[in-house]
Amino acid sequence: MTNGRTWRKLIWCGVLVICSAIISGCDDQSSGYPTGGGPGGSSPGSSPGDGGPGQAINQNAGGAGYGTPQDSSQFGDPAFSSGVTVAKIDTDGDPNESTSLDPNYNPETTGTVNGAPVNSAQYAYVVMSQQQMADSGVSIGDWALVTNTSNGQQVWARVEDTGPAGGTGEISEAAASAVGIQFQTNSNTIGNPTVTVQAYAHTASIPHN
């Protein structure tokens, strides 16, 4: 019987070791890039535009965001360029949004800030598809430059969300406000503003000013 108890202890120890090893290997999916800070948004354009029936113009975006990269001279050529494309507003991560306002709203974003979704109203960010990121070498957290092609206004942003195939020009509320693009709470833009998005690979670790 002593031998039986000894064997039983040894076997249970082995099971515990194996289970511990498997559990410790689990992926927590946490973000590793530095968190942002500094001003990322500016005042939205002054034209009130047409809010449309039942839809207020969103005036809340443009809070503190990622600011500007400390040294963009290291960036070199952009790894991804969208070309001139119609701007689309991604409200994801904005706690003041909801699916009743924007049916495509998602409280989560691919990137995170201090473990929380990236607030679209607060942070200037852009959305890229998996293929766009894979083929360009751009990753979540890398810097991107958004330019409003109608007025030349620009804002530095980070790549923070994964979008569907072929999507281009999708930017956060803060990024839109920063370049003078107005939009409604349902995320529809006022008019059809166009932007370019240029993303820079391997720049996530470059801090902001």
């Binding site: 019987m1 031998n3 039986g4 064997w7 039983r8 076997i11 249970w12 099971v15 194996i18 289970c19 498997i22 290997g25 992926d27 999916q29 973000s31 790894a79 689309k88 994801d92 699916t99 049916p103 495509n104 998602n106 989560e108 974003t109 691919t110 990137g111 995170t112 959305v127 598809s129 998996q130 293929q131 766009q132 990121m133 894979a134 083929d135 360009s136 070498g137 751009v138 990753s139 979540i140 969300d161 994964t162 979008g163 569907p164 195939a165 072929g166 999507g167 690979a201």
Partner: protein, 190 residues
């Protein structure tokens, strides 16, 4: 009266069952090739490792924000297709053995006929989110796939298509993927 040998035998059955259940649960992230020569390991990255656990190819270097992943090996263990679904977008990746070395590729966005599908479904607007799923291999060089696109405004459009390994010329992208090695064809409403 139970003998020590009988005691061990009974407990070994329980332990074996526990181990099998534990390993089965963990196997969702480790998908072996049919011939057992390789394993697709899904963790903070997606890698193919050989029997000595040496990485032979990193298919996806970083899966931050990943919600779901699915993968299927071809019967000859020469190819593997995997789908990575995020909250609003998906990536269809593949790895294939060519000339003795593993290469990686990704389905091109341009394959996805979002406007055609919208027209067929009678919806409008741009695609706000998209999800993909693997149905299964139907030949050595093709895989049946499904997806569901959600258009601006919330209209859901389920669709199906075939992913084909072209065998044609490829272009190595800046990110290190052999563009053109796979192509999505025959997209249609489901």
């Amino acid at each position: 009266m139970r003998t020590p040998r009988l005691f061990l035998t009974t407990n070994m059955k329980v332990l074996t069952l526990l181990l099998v259940l534990t390993i089965s649960a963990a196997a969702a992230d480790n998908i072996p090739s049919p011939d057992g020569a390789y394993v697709l390991e899904i963790g903070k990255s997606v890698r193919i490792v050989d029997h000595s656990h040496t990485t032979v190819l990193t298919v996806v270097p970083n899966v931050q924000g990943l919600r779901e992943v699915a993968a299927q090996w071809s019967a000859d263990s020469q190819r593997v297709v995997l789908v990575l679904n995020y909250d609003r977008g998906a990536g269809v990746y593949a790895a294939y053995l060519e000339g003795g070395s593993w290469k990686r590729t990704i389905e091109q966005d341009s394959d996805f006929p979002s406007a055609d599908l919208a027209r067929q479904a009678g919806v409008s607007g741009w695609v706000a989110s998209d999800k993909r799923m693997i149905v299964g291999w139907v030949a050595a060089d093709r895989v049946n796939m499904t997806g569901e696109a959600t258009y601006k405004g919330g209209h859901h459009v389920p669709y199906a298509y075939t992913l084909v390994f072209t065998g044609g010329p490829t272009h190595l992208s800046r990110g290190g993927y052999e563009d053109g090695a796979i192509k999505g064809i025959d997209f249609h409403l489901k």
